[in-house]
């Protein structure tokens, strides 16, 4: 299960709304205990895709490295990655799956007509061929 604290969740939604109609992306930092990932900080990140960002996001690896350092400095961990789906549902698309990593939770936010609609979290497998839906609680 992944739980996202209120302040972190509000930062994620704000980033998704600000990026609309483009896809946003970012990292979720927190602690994992007894199988529950609890996110206390959401770190908005740059969408590094150089083409149309309405249906694509790419994390900047150099920025990821900085976020990883920040997490270590705070005694936290990078627990997952979030991104938005403008004007469509919060599913884990084939491209999401094929460019995923099994170490993290992947939270997808659906933003419709510029406003947050709903969200889901996914846990992809090693082969990047399937993703299991993960229980998600936000604004906890």
């Amino acid at each position: 299960m992944i739980q996202i604290e209120r302040q972190a969740w509000e930062a994620m939604v704000a980033h998704a709304r600000a990026a609309y109609p483009r896809e946003c992306c970012g990292a979720m930092l927190g602690v994992e205990k007894d199988g529950t990932r609890r996110v206390s900080i959401a770190r908005p990140m740059r969408n590094a895709f150089e083409g149309a960002q309405e249906d694509t996001y790419v994390l900047d690896p150099a920025e990821q490295l900085q976020v990883e350092k920040e997490a270590r400095a705070r005694g936290l961990s990078v627990l997952g990655i979030f991104h938005s789906h403008p004007d469509c549902d919060a599913y884990f698309s084939r491209r999401d799956l094929e460019n995923s990593c099994p170490w993290y939770s992947f939270v997808v936010l659906s933003v419709k007509k510029g406003e947050f609609d709903h969200a889901n979290s996914f846990l992809p497998n090693f082969e990047q061929t399937a993703a299991e839906k993960e229980q998600l609680e936000y604004s906890v």
């Binding site: 990883e68 491209r95 170490w103």
Partner: protein
Amino acid sequence: MAKILIPTPLRHFVNGQDAVEIAGGTVGECLEKLTTDFGDLRKNLFNDEGKLRSFVNVYLNDEDIRYLDKTATAACDRDTISIVPSIAGGR
């Protein structure tokens, strides 16, 4: 000895350590040694053909080894090796 920083989700494969000191002449040798010493970690970094998985990026200090000599990049004492997953997607 180069220091390899271990991402949190992989730390339970290395007895909970957040970093592991490894002796090796290149980044590739360090990663091989790491995944020999901690065998359960190997599946996370390498595929069945022994190549780094497509989602694994490796940095030597702040440099992506793809823009250096890839896994043949020399790793010296006091160098830091970071493992950063490659992530992208879209609806």
